[in-house]
Symmetry: C2
Subunit: 310 residues, 2 copies
């Protein structure tokens, strides 16, 4: 039986996942709750949410350290934890932990990337997943790591630290266009995945992306109105178009920064990573490594670097 | 005093404008109402709306002909009027008019463009504006006409007919991202125009558009979070970024189809055309002609072509 050494929390905007983590990085127990940082208001609400998901684990003796990452550390979270500047690895991140009030919880900072004259870029939560991926797979010390999601991150990891990175709002564009734009109107509320339609969208972005996303998006409507695609296929065509545009720009970014020889890793929820893997292959690019949730491993590595473990 | 010869209606999704039109194309009277086609359900609701905006004008003797364009002729309108295929001019459009039930109203069809292997494109309402622009400015018989809006249209007019065209969902992207995405969260509800921020967005698209729209959009957030742009400047930065991406793709489309030597016209609401004119100039391109609402002139020309005038 592995002994628990840490309570780790992946605390996002809309939900949280709490992990009871063993010394070897294994997840011994897990709780999920709809207590996202943007749904809670005021210190007592966060204290109560924390007690709800981790209170029972905390009452063990001696009390386990508590470490959280994600939007809980943002302006609209529990406590705004200042961004650490890239390049940043476990040491820099551990040096930036912050504690809300007199609680036992520490929160991991996000990372700010300043890429010359371009606008800055930001991550909060993904830094911990990257640290976890590095802890499990040391060969990623020099790599390109893609974390697909609401705000996908393309990251250059250099000498074990987060270097330059770029956010793509792919997942959020999908959600708002499906729910709030004319494109969603022809789509049925429930659909089964249609990978042919998905790849047709990827192909359109890959082969004709220069026509521009604002133009190509309209095809979701025109293909539906003219019955060239059935209504149930439209969500996946939209998904393919958006992910295709992300890959088109992301692969060019990776090549432009001379990262083509480095291992390419996908880190995130399995179904989404599968979708990205398929789209990458469609663009002639293999993923060298595909990892599921690495946040617990990252929280453990950061707790170690901050000497929180007894 | 000019004699009225036609009641024309520009009947969109969310609102309508009715015009009492003189033989010389002048607008003698105008009514606007929040009776958009997507807000009305069933034949009697449309009949009542029509009577509300045009009933008084109709009761004159002899009764004036009635002609409407726009989404009133769509699947979700009063009567679905089949699209006419491009190339289409006033003659083809007049040949496709349809009449809902036993009413006196005729509705202009939209236009469908089939550009080889690419997805089809659609317009409904803009065809009438283009016909109006051509009626007023015969030099546009061979031209490139841009109609900025919720769904901007870039149109190749060839020998006085609508040829190939491309829709860009620029205006709708702006609205849904501002109202429903994380980008809107830092924006104050009311702002004054900030043309510096607008041009900064255009510049980002012009100079670094290859980084991809899904990526560049995130700068609206990162520039706000890091206080590089004040909250009141973010809406116009977003506007500039989106219009910049439309121009980047649209100007390449225009060049790719050999239309660079043709006159370039902007047709639409004056404040939006001004914005596009500024962005075009920022991309080294002058607009040869800028026209305000040409729908009444288009409705008159189509009524003439269909021999509806007495």
């Amino acid at each position: 039986m592995v002994t628990p050494v840490l309570i780790g929390i992946d605390w996002g905007s809309t939900s949280l996942r709490a992990f009871l983590i063993g010394a070897d990085g294994s997840v011994l127990r897990e709780h999920a709750a709809a207590k996202g940082a943007s749904t809670l208001h005021g210190h007592p609400a966060f204290v109560a949410a924390l007690d709800e998901v981790a209170g029972a684990w905390r009452r063990a003796q001696p009390p386990l350290p508590l470490l959280a990452c994600g939007m809980v550390g943002s302006q609209h979270g529990w406590l705004e934890v200042p961004y650490v500047r890239a390049p940043a690895g476990a040491t820099e991140l551990a040096g930036g932990l912050a504690q809300p009030g007199d609680t036992a919880l520490r929160i991991v900072p996000g990372v700010l990337c300043n890429d010359g004259l371009l606008p800055p870029d930001l991550m909060r939560g993904e830094e911990t997943q990257i640290v976890g991926a590095l802890a499990q797979h040391p060969q990623l010390a020099d790599s390109c790591v893609i974390l697909p999601g609401t705000h996908s991150k393309w990251t250059h990891v250099a000498q074990g630290r987060i270097g330059r990175f770029a956010t793509h709002m792919t997942g959020e564009l999908y959600a708002v266009l499906r729910q709030h734009s004319v494109l969603g109107r022809l789509m049925p509320p429930e659909v089964t995945p249609d990978m042919d339609a998905f790849l047709a969208g990827v192909t359109a972005a890959r082969d004709h992306g220069e026509l521009g996303l604002p133009h190509q998006l309209f095809a979701v409507r025109s293909l539906g109105v003219t019955a060239r695609l059935r209504p149930g296929a439209l969500p996946d065509y939209l998904s393919g178009l958006l992910i295709g545009h992300e890959l088109r720009a992301g692969l060019a970014w990776r090549a432009g920064h001379g990262l083509r020889e480095l291992p390419l890793a996908l880190v995130g929820a399995a179904p989404l990573c599968e979708r990205y893997q398929l789209a990458l292959a469609h663009c002639g690019q293999a993923a060298d490594l595909v990892l599921d949730n690495t946040a617990p491993a990252g929280l453990l590595a950061l707790a170690r670097a901050a000497r929180l473990l007894s």
